[in-house]
């Protein structure tokens, strides 16, 4: 019974994620208006024409929410993708070779951790000019240490296992061993962490937007909408409630989907 219930939750999560992906891909046909066009009186309440109302510049909230899905999804998925590449490599190296390499890499990861995302975001925005790419890089840098850490643990354990030992005894090259034998066995927690990180990335981007370092126009992100929308609470609650709810829904969706993945891939992983 527990299995069935947990499956339901995971299925819901997956449904949410898939809907988001669909909305993100088909934003143009789905969205009733151009998200940046000022189509009416500012702060208008929901109406037939504008189902979620208009924001402080008279832009259609529903359209912005739809395009925001695309941006939030792109930012979180791409940044986690980048951090997977970096984090898994570093985690593999640290766990497989141990010793000095492990120490150095893990301290470097600690370092990356301490650099608050906004410091990096400001620096990048300043140096390279403001853009979507900078937000992605900033979020990727902040997420990499977690991925590296999650990779390293199981790698350390697997390293001592029999089939790795036998592979090495047989003279297999390190890299081959790592990729052929080690990685598939530690893939499960990494994949699960990736979904959780995507959820986190959405929240990190929201935080950056609050500090004014999130995505730039003409892009819209939910974090951006929430950050500016909160100034109009009580005047037009929808401006903060809708993007806020969207963020929460997406974050929960990815988390539940991640839980489901964990159950499917390896039920023993629940303890983390």
């Amino acid at each position: 019974m527990r299995w069935a219930r947990r499956n339901l939750v995971a299925a819901l999560g997956l449904a949410v994620v898939l809907s988001l992906v669909v909305v993100a891909i088909f934003a143009e046909p789905l969205s009733p208006f151009d998200p940046n066009a000022q189509v009416g009186k500012r702060l208008s309440p929901p109406s037939h024409q504008h189902l979620l109302g208009l924001d402080q510049l008279g832009r259609d909230v529903l359209s912005r929410l739809i395009f925001g899905a695309r941006v939030s999804l792109v930012v979180s998925v791409v940044s986690v993708g980048l951090s997977l590449v970096a984090g898994v490599s570093l985690g593999l190296l640290a766990g497989y070779y141990g010793g000095v390499a492990d120490n150095v890499i893990m301290r470097a990861m600690d370092l990356m951790f301490t650099l608050p995302s906004f410091v990096l975001a400001i620096a990048l925005a300043g140096i390279l000019g403001p853009s979507l790419t900078n937000v992605i890089i900033a979020v990727a840098v902040v997420t990499t240490p977690t991925i590296a850490r999650v990779t390293r643990g199981p790698v350390l354990a697997v390293r001592e296992s029999e089939f790795v030992a036998s592979a090495r005894a047989a003279g297999a090259a390190d890299r081959r061993t790592m990729f052929r034998h080690v990685l598939p066995n530690v893939a499960a927690p990494i994949i699960v962490q990736a979904t959780v990180s995507i959820a986190d990335a959405i929240l990190i981007e929201a935080g950056l937007s609050f500090l004014g370092l999130g995505v730039q126009p003409p892009h819209t992100s939910w974090g951006n909408m929430l950050g500016t929308g909160r100034n109009f609470m009580e005047l037009a609650n929808g401006l903060s409630v809708f993007p806020g709810a969207a963020i929460m829904l997406a974050v929960l969706g990815f988390n539940f989907a991640g839980d489901g993945l964990r159950d499917v891939l390896d039920p023993r992983l629940r303890g983390g």
Partner: protein, 316 residues
């Protein structure tokens, strides 16, 4: 054990050094410098005066020289003077760092104190209304952006209860009650996401432990529930929980910046944000370095806890 400590110390120093170089370069690469901010929008400066100021800030030396000067001062315990306020950085940090540390510590404490029992109760009384409520709170904490939560808390408190804690910072040494009253909402906003994660983790670990064979055996033998929970279940749950807390600390420090801004708290987060905005290099470098060292210290303590809790892990 000693070898472990020495290795850790060395790698900590290496990390601190690398961090200082990184932030030194990053902040100087950002367009605009302290002199630009000094002139502001409405001032005018002759090139000579600009050169004089740049010299005063040490900005005319080549980068490696600037860095070495700074490093030499730091090793003597002198973090320099803020470019803008001309106050000593150590004095400013001494005032602001404890505030952020207190905030982060309270956030972690409240989240642990709330999450652990809630997680356990949730697991033991699975699917009861208590469980459902706890999980709901957990879901909100997991998914709500912390700045939104903070803003909602403030507005609800002010609008419906006509109450706000003192906006001006009160030190715990002067008035502990007032200080805790101030810290209540910020610590809660900051700690809720962490609480949610820890609660879920506790709950799932407990659920797993409760289904283990030895638990069933113990139950069959009649060992007191509580004793069994405490001895076996919690022990096993602690490792992943501490891992999580260690991992989340970085996020906590970052989140503290946002929470401090909203509640107007003069912590290190607010100081860092305004120092970056003002291109106050000594301030930025010292603050990031301090935060980094703090973080590494906590990680070290976390690793020590591992060693204590899990006999399989040993540091040689």
């Amino acid at each position: 054990m000693k070898a472990f400590l020495v290795r850790r110390l060395l790698s900590t120093l290496a990390a601190a050094f690398a961090l200082s170089v990184l932030i030194f370069l990053l902040i100087r690469l950002v367009p605009g410098d302290a002199v630009t901010m000094w002139v502001g929008q409405e001032g005018t400066m002759t090139p000579e005066v600009r050169a004089t100021l740049r010299k005063m800030f040490g900005l005319t030396d080549p980068l490696p020289v600037q860095y070495l000067h700074w490093l030499a001062d730091v090793l003597r315990g002198d973090f320099g003077y803020s470019f803008r306020s001309r106050l000593p950085v150590t004095q400013l940090l001494r005032r602001s760092l404890p505030i952020t540390i207190e905030l982060a510590a309270l956030a972690m404490l409240t989240s642990a104190v709330v999450a652990l029992p809630l997680g356990i109760v949730s697991a033991v009384k699975r699917n009861t209304p208590t469980d459902v409520l706890a999980r709901l709170v957990g879901l909100v904490g997991l998914s709500m952006p912390s700045f939104w939560l903070a803003v909602l808390l403030i507005l609800i408190s002010a609008t419906y209860f006509r109450w706000l804690p003192s906006l001006i910072y009160v030190s715990p040494w002067k008035d502990l009650a007032a200080n805790l009253g101030q810290m209540m909402m910020p610590a809660f906003s900051l700690g809720l996401p962490l609480m949610a994660v820890v609660m879920r983790m506790t709950r799932s670990t407990m659920l797993e432990v409760l289904s283990q064979d030895y638990v069933r055996t113990a139950r069959a033998k009649g060992v007191a529930e509580r004793v069994m929970l405490a001895r076996h279940a919690l022990r096993n749950a602690f490792i992943p929980i501490i891992t999580i807390m260690g991992i989340q600390l970085g996020r906590l420090l970052g989140g503290a910046v946002i929470v401090e801004q909203i509640f107007g708290m003069p912590g290190v987060g607010t100081e860092l944000v305004s120092a970056i905005g003002e291109r106050d290099y000594p301030m930025v470098q010292a603050t990031v370095l301090m935060m980094g060292l703090l973080f590494i210290l906590v990680q070290f303590l976390v690793d020590l806890c591992y060693g204590y809790l899990d006999p399989r892990i040993h540091y040689g």
